[in-house]
Symmetry: C2
Subunit: 205 residues, 2 copies
């Protein structure tokens, strides 16, 4: 596809770098912006640039934040600061916050231990987590990592690092999804959901 | 969906304004940019803004251009300057150029006559087309408009405006698409393709 203008071509190339956006979609987006007023497009560009330039990461939990300490970490009355939910990335924080069922704090690892991808523990925010648990007298660590080998490896590694610190370590329940159908569940999930069966009283609580 | 940062929220809102991009996709794109280096994101924003600020429209054919006269209009040796292909928008120019089968010039109307949408002839680049045909001694006008009521209305209007200027007026062939199946073609298309049947010699030329 040859475009009649180099400026257009450059803009399309930039959009096409984004995940899930091909050259045709990129062209559609650029032609849409071309129809908008110049100040509006300038505002678009500036908002994106400003976001990347000025966004901060909470010094305590590494969540994105507009201040050195994020809104969740600085909310000492509404959130249980002694409960830490360990997640892989910011997207997981957003997903858990959307449930409105968790009132503790987070710790964003920034990835997951995955030797095949060359990601070791030292590249993740694990040291800071251990330090946090030690100094803040955390009572519970809740692992909310994806249920796969890398997730389990990361949980295992951190648990060993924690040694015998006096804090409960839990993980989110794995089982059949709400609305899911038993017969289509994979064997691993079904097997685990049987092994970790719950008393009905606890389930309906 | 509540986001942990206003800057993030603003950037997501900007992306979500684009056609076909919802809030979830916008968040995915923004988080992708968040992982990139700041200069790279700045380059993204600046490229888009620069495109909108500096792009020009060819003064002769209204195609997008990096100069006052576009590359096609200024190519007097390789392109037939006396043949004008009339199209609705820039996207159509790109589509026709991609076929590499057209060696004339274009005239971008910037829309199509559509009273229901409040678009009349005076909002389109029709006056300039008539002027061009008069002053440049154009030999042929080829209409490449979408085959619908608005397209036909526009062709009819322009043809009447042209009066009896000594220039051939043609339109792209309407018929069964290459690779299409006869039995699934709509009646209108099939009827037209029978009415406008071609001698086989001409077809295989």
């Amino acid at each position: 596809m040859q475009l009649p203008s180099q400026l257009l071509e450059n803009a399309v190339a930039e959009f096409a770098k984004l995940p899930g956006i091909g050259k045709k979609t990129a062209l559609r987006l650029v032609l849409h912006l071309l129809k908008k007023d110049a100040p509006e497009v300038r505002h678009f560009g500036e908002t994106i640039t400003k976001m990347r330039d000025e966004i901060q990461f909470c010094q305590r939990c590494f969540n994105v934040s507009d201040a050195p300490i994020c809104a969740i970490c600085s909310n000492t009355t509404g959130r249980n600061q002694l409960l830490i939910c360990v997640v892989e990335n910011i997207r997981d924080v957003i997903a858990i916050e959307a449930t409105q069922q968790f009132n503790g704090t987070y710790h964003v690892l920034g990835g997951i231990i995955s030797p095949l991808d060359g990601i070791g523990p030292e590249q993740l925010n694990i040291e800071t987590l251990i330090e946090r648990v030690k100094t803040e007298a955390t009572t519970e660590i809740l692992f909310a990592l994806n249920p796969n080998i890398q997730g389990d490896t990361t949980i295992f590694y951190i648990q060993r690092k924690l040694g015998n610190l006096p804090c409960t370590v839990t993980t989110i329940a794995r089982g059949i999804s709400f609305g899911g159908e038993l017969e289509y569940a994979d064997e691993m999930t079904l097997a685990r959901s049987i092994a970790n069966r719950l008393p009905v009283q606890q389930y309906v609580k």
